[in-house]
Symmetry: C2
Subunit: 224 residues, 2 copies
């Protein structure tokens, strides 16, 4: 007897939109580094979409959880061994992949810049403002846009920003991360009042910065 299990069925892959913060060396000893949002992309070395930049990911094994698949691929392809992950959306268009019907369970990932190794392979970090649709393979440009919109909305009602920051950070650093994601900067005094309940102050301060030292904070324990 024929069962549904005898028929051809779609392949399943996972893809990660892994984001972190990049800080560029300032042109004056007084200035703080510029804060930008960047994404990890992987250059394909075979067809289809050879030499295009794509999201790290791969096919989902029959006995593997998608999150584990993502972590396995991030470690393999970009030497990333720790990040925060959350399911983003499942992309299912019929012609996503010319080889076969492949649906992709996409994840949004966030990590701290410092944890990002200088991996000498096909994986590179790009400023999200710098990438253009033409250079991106498959429907991954669309996935990236979906992830950025999701991130913009999620940082307004959750704690996930802290996944982009080191353990200890200044309020200006924190505000710059918000600004990099949302594309606009609120007044510092208002930002502080709003955010202060989400952080815990320490006794430490920055130094040697050419301006007044800033107090370091850590994230306050609580729900996401």
């Amino acid at each position: 007897m024929n069962s549904i299990f005898d028929y051809d069925h779609p392949f399943v892959c996972t893809d990660a939109v892994l984001l972190s913060i990049s800080t560029t060396v300032p042109d004056s000893y007084r200035k703080l580094p510029e804060t930008n949002l960047r994404i990890l992309l992987y250059k394909r070395d075979s067809d289809p979409h050879k030499d295009k930049w794509c999201l790290p990911g791969g096919f989902l094994s029959i006995d593997e959880l998608p999150e584990n698949s993502i972590r396995r691929n991030l470690l393999l392809k970009a030497d990333v061994d720790e990040c925060w992950l959350e399911q983003l959306y499942t992309f299912c268009d019929l012609n996503r992949d010319s080889r076969a019907r492949v649906i992709s369970i996409a994840y949004l990932g966030l990590m701290n810049e410092a944890a990002s190794k200088n991996y000498q392979g096909n994986a590179t970090w790009f400023d999200v403002d710098a990438i253009s649709e033409a250079d991106i393979g498959f429907d991954h440009y669309n996935i990236i846009k979906t992830a950025l919109v999701r991130l913009q909305s999620k940082i307004t009602y959750t704690n996930i920003v802290f996944n982009l920051l080191p353990e200890e950070f200044t309020l200006t650093q924190l505000q710059n991360v918000y600004a990099a994601i949302l594309g606009k900067k609120e007044q510092a005094s208002n930002f502080r009042k709003r955010i202060i309940s989400m952080v815990q102050e320490t006794d430490k301060h920055t130094s040697n910065k050419g301006h007044r030292p800033a107090r370091l904070y850590v994230k306050k324990a609580g729900l996401y």
Copy 2:
């Protein structure tokens, strides 16, 4: 040469958490009907989980979009031919289905009570407050809970409530739908002030209700 396409890979199915409003006949000519949230469930007629209530859905064909798969199954199993659908989450636990590795792309669906036919098959509407985990097959109870939480948060910042209402409705009807979903009722005067920008008044009113007629409104055009 062996390719990834030669290996066994997970099966993919779709499941719909289709919700609508039920109104029960009041015990007094003065009262309005009670407003409850209900869900469409389907009684399985074969193993596994024979005789358990499950979400309508089915396996995703190789050339089919998940949303079309949902609509096809809703029509087939419950004679539902129109509803609003949005992807909810993709459930991937390893032992969701004893027959094989099956991942499920779950959708949240909303429809107007009036469009719900009285289908005489294995599909029935249940009040969401009345269902218990023991009667639900697979991991569908978990999917339902996820859907209800999502709905609660989405009605606070989108327009999706209107998918649960007829074209024309009173503000009290609208408020009762919010109350049924959120589990608590705000003061009517405050609700009106908050909601008024989302609706467009008509010249029509209710009548024969044992109390003052209520103005009918329609949803205002705009973004979801």
